[in-house]
């Protein structure tokens, strides 16, 4: 609602249920789209933003749990709220273990559902934010030359300039220059910040030389 992109998608084979749910989410101020089947949803282009899927468990074709599995491999950041007419414990457990935000039995309270959707969108946003940060950090790291990247890895591991110079068979002065460039390219001024950015970018430490 705060300008950031958010979307609620309803996937239910019952037309009147999905229409009503779409309307309910719009009334709560969300953008909402409705889909008659899991396949329909999968053919939609991937949404770049926080997204909550309100998913019926029992559907013809690919059912709710099947769609949940299919989404895992796609790498988008959908968060799922399941709705079902049958409050069946084993299905609910399976869905929750795989990371569903909530599992609601029809007919449910609208506040309960909107609350769950709100939570799901928050999770999704969080995930999105982390991914954004990672990508941003990666982008910065990608600007480093191979030599600079190697220096970065040793710095992150806590090596001193002298040690790095001896590892890389070069002068300490050269390492100092490289290190200054790395700090500049990654936009940080202190070693702790450098470590944080590298972590976000997923820079693996070099093999233990010992």
């Amino acid at each position: 609602m705060s300008g950031a992109k958010k979307l609620v998608c309803v996937v239910d084979d019952d037309q009147s249920v999905r229409r009503a749910l779409g309307r309910l989410f719009r009334s709560a101020g969300y953008a909402a789209e409705i889909f008659a089947s899991a396949e329909d949803y999968l053919s939609r282009e991937i949404f770049e933003g926080a997204i909550c899927l309100v998913l019926d468990v029992r559907m013809p074709g690919l059912n709710g749990l099947g769609l949940q599995e299919a989404l895992e491999t796609r790498g988008a950041c959908e968060q799922i709220v399941f709705i079902t007419g049958h409050g069946d414990v084993s299905t609910a457990t399976r869905a929750m273990k795989k990371g569903a935000v909530d599992f609601l039995t029809k007919p449910f309270n609208d506040r309960e559902l909107i609350e769950a959707v709100k939570r799901a969108l928050e999770h999704s946003e969080e995930q999105l934010r982390k991914r954004g940060e990672r990508q941003e950090a990666r982008g910065r790291v990608d600007r480093l030359t191979p030599r600079e990247f190697e220096v970065l890895r040793f710095v992150v591991m806590g090596f001193l300039n002298k040690q790095i110079a001896s590892e890389l068979h070069t002068a300490e002065k050269t390492i100092k220059v490289h290190r200054g460039r790395v700090m500049q390219k990654l936009g940080v001024t202190s070693v702790p910040d450098l470590v944080r950015v590298s972590q976000r970018a997923g820079v693996a430490p070099p093999r233990n030389p010992a």
Partner: protein, 660 residues
């Protein structure tokens, strides 16, 4: 008469096993007094009969002696009937000898009159347990048919024959038969009920009657007499004949409020007044010849009295039934009271409950409080609450008896031990697994309605909404409410299972309806259903509920046949086709194991005997329903499965209905 034992069945006079007692009784003064009063009544009756003739033609409109004889026979045990007849004989002689009738004719008349009374009384006593009362519809019907119609009908042949043999009078055989028949029917209908109801119980009951009843009776009598006086004496003979029915409301009043006693007395009064006035050339029955007048009076009175007597019988039967019920209830509640027992019943579906007063006192419920588990459980001792609740739930789930012993908390802190025994009586036990599926189907529209309503509220909270948005929202709510209603309608039909009515229907509708009912069941079993419905089908004449059951059973059968089919292949194809505009067929094709290679008849019985599933009736019943609709059921093996199909004949008119 009270201590005379009552032989109920008609037996030969004197040959009844109880005759040894009749020797002692026959000399009893009470029996003698019966004889004497019969003789007196018979003689008076004959006198009245003579008085009620319309001159100049000597036709008696009403001939009481035979009816007096009949009433006497109905009131007395069979073994004293000979005495009644014996007592009536001198009275008969005394009455008839005053005219110029030859003795042979007098004797013949006595024989035919006795015949009539014996036939009527015999039939009635054979069919009705003594004492003969007019307080039941059945009794009144038996009396009217056998004693008032059949006996005069038969005895009039005898009587007319006697008249012909003796060459008495100038009338033809059929004239005599007709005159005697109608006057005796009228006499039996009007006099016998009056005599029997008024003399059966003596006059002891009079003292038990409240003064308000007396007042009402007097008022009725006064009003009745005045109306009759106006109708039969004051009215111009040429006045509108519809006015003749003015006494009817008062007759009904008498029947409704005073039962057979009131009705018979009122009919008697009406009869005498009507005939008397006609005899003195007053009123509506004095315009034509004596014979015609007599016949129209008789018709009028017979038509009035038959329904009235029946009405009185119905009313007494009902009030007696109510009294019996109340007495039984009182007896049971007295027994329950003294044994400290409470009775109760709760209908969970209709939310109705009943508990005996004693029970309400024990459980401390207010007299008008609606019973429920929520109201009942808090009164149970906390330590026993779970046990009791479980016992009820078990009984409810298994439709069996439950028994539970528990402590009850009284408001004053006392604890009482109780034993409760009950049974859960289910009305929908045959629904089986379908109920869950239907409940789910009902959940969908309810969810949609609730969500739409919530959305509406939120839109409103944000300020005046767009009318188009709201229009759509409300249309959706209405559609879902209708859908929920349709589902409930469907459940209702399934539960009722009763005789449906046939109407012209489109089989496509039946297919859609059944698929909607089974929707979630099919999803749950991971089975895809494809439909190939003919776009426009001629209608067939059928009971939609029964056809739904047929299709439902075929589908369940296919689902079961595919239990070992791999999930990817598990599908059913339902198609409807029209064959040469003369018949319509529905087929259900599965990808299951196929049918055993035996012939089709064995398949039907095989499935019937081996699959006792919750709601299936088996294919044998399916076939009988189809055949009852003039159709045919077929089963065949096809590639990778089986196909069941049934065809029904098309209604003759080339009328087609649009598919909804």
């Amino acid at each position: 008469m009270k201590n005379l034992a009552a032989p109920v069945r008609l037996a030969g006079l004197g040959s009844h096993p109880q005759t040894e007692r009749s020797d002692a009784l026959s000399f009893d003064w009470r029996v003698a007094s019966i004889g004497l009063s019969v003789a007196l009544a018979y003689y008076l009756g004959a006198k009245i009969g003579f008085a009620l003739t319309l001159r100049p033609h000597p036709v008696s409109v009403l001939w009481p002696p035979n009816s007096i004889l009949l009433a006497a026979l109905l009131l007395t045990p069979v073994r004293v009937w000979w005495l009644i007849l014996l007592a009536a004989f001198p009275a008969h002689l005394a009455a008839q000898l005053q005219g110029s009738v030859p003795p042979a004719m007098i004797l013949c008349w006595f024989i035919s009159n006795s015949c009539e009374a014996l036939i009527g009384a015999g039939c009635v006593r054979y069919l009705i347990d003594r004492p003969v009362r007019f307080d039941r519809l059945g009794n009144v019907g038996i009396f009217i048919f056998f004693a008032a119609l059949l006996a005069p009908f038969l005895s009039s042949f005898v009587d007319a024959a006697f008249v012909a043999i003796n060459h008495w009078g100038g009338d033809s055989y059929w004239q005599v038969w007709r005159i005697r028949f109608s006057s005796n029917v009228l006499a039996a209908l009007t006099l016998v009920p009056f005599i029997v109801t008024w003399s059966a119980e003596g006059i002891g009951w009079l003292s038990r009657i409240r003064s308000a009843r007396f007042l009402e009776a007097a008022l009725l009598l006064l009003a009745f007499l005045s109306v009759n006086t106006i109708v039969f004496y004051k009215l111009d003979p040429t006045a509108d004949s519809a006015l003749l029915y003015l006494p009817l409301p008062f007759l009904i009043w008498a029947a409704v409020r005073f039962g057979s006693r009131g009705a018979s007395a009122a009919i008697c009064t009406l009869t005498f007044l009507a005939i008397w006035s006609a005899g003195h050339r007053y009123g509506p029955f004095s315009t034509r010849s004596a014979e015609e007048n007599a016949l129209s009076i008789q018709m009028f009175l017979i038509v009035m009295s038959v329904p009235l007597l029946l009405l009185a019988g119905v009313i007494e039967e009902r009030s007696k039934g109510a009294t019996t019920l109340r007495e039984r209830e009182e007896r049971i509640s007295l027994a329950a009271e003294s044994a400290n027992l409470a009775f109760w019943s709760i209908n969970f579906e209709r939310r109705e409950s009943w508990m005996s007063d004693k029970g309400r006192a024990i459980f401390n419920f207010r007299p008008d409080e609606r019973l429920s588990r929520e109201l009942f459980l808090p009164r149970v001792h906390p330590e026993d609450r779970n046990t009791v609740d479980e016992a009820i739930e078990r009984a409810r789930a298994s439709s069996q008896t439950f028994e539970s012993e528990y402590r009850l908390l009284r408001p004053d802190g006392d604890i009482r031990w109780l034993i409760s025994r009950g049974r859960y009586v289910s009305r929908v036990s045959s629904m089986g697994e379908l109920t869950a599926s239907l409940a789910h189907e009902l959940n969908q529209p309810l969810t949609a309605i609730a969500s739409n309503a919530a959305a509406g509220r939120r839109f409103l909270a944000q300020g005046p909404p767009e009318s188009k948005v709201f229009e759509e929202l409300l249309a959706d709510v209405a559609a879902d409410a209708r859908r929920a209603g349709d589902i409930i309608h469907g459940i209702h039909h399934f539960v009722r299972k009763g005789e449906g009515t046939r109407r012209p229907i489109n089989l496509n509708e039946i297919v859609r309806e059944v698929l909607r009912l089974l929707h979630s069941d099919l999803l749950g079993r991971g089975t895809a259903v494809e439909t190939e419905l003919a776009p426009s089908l001629p209608v067939v004449d059928a009971d939609p509920v029964q056809l739904q059951q047929v299709l439902l059973n075929l589908l369940m059968n296919s689902l079961e046949a595919m239990q070992s089919t791999s999930a990817a292949n598990r599908r059913i194809v339902i198609s409807t086709t029209c064959e040469a505009n003369t018949s319509v067929a529905v087929s259900v094709r599965d990808y299951g194991n196929g049918l055993p290679a035996d012939d089709v008849d064995k398949v039907f019985s095989h499935f019937y005997s081996t699959k006792p599933n919750g709601m299936g009736m088996g294919l044998t019943i399916v076939r009988s329903i189809v055949e009852a609709h003039g159709g045919k059921l077929r089963a065949e093996n096809v590639d990778e499965g089986a196909r069941f199909s049934f065809s029904l004949p098309v209604i003759r008119e080339p009328e087609t209905r649009e598919i909804a």
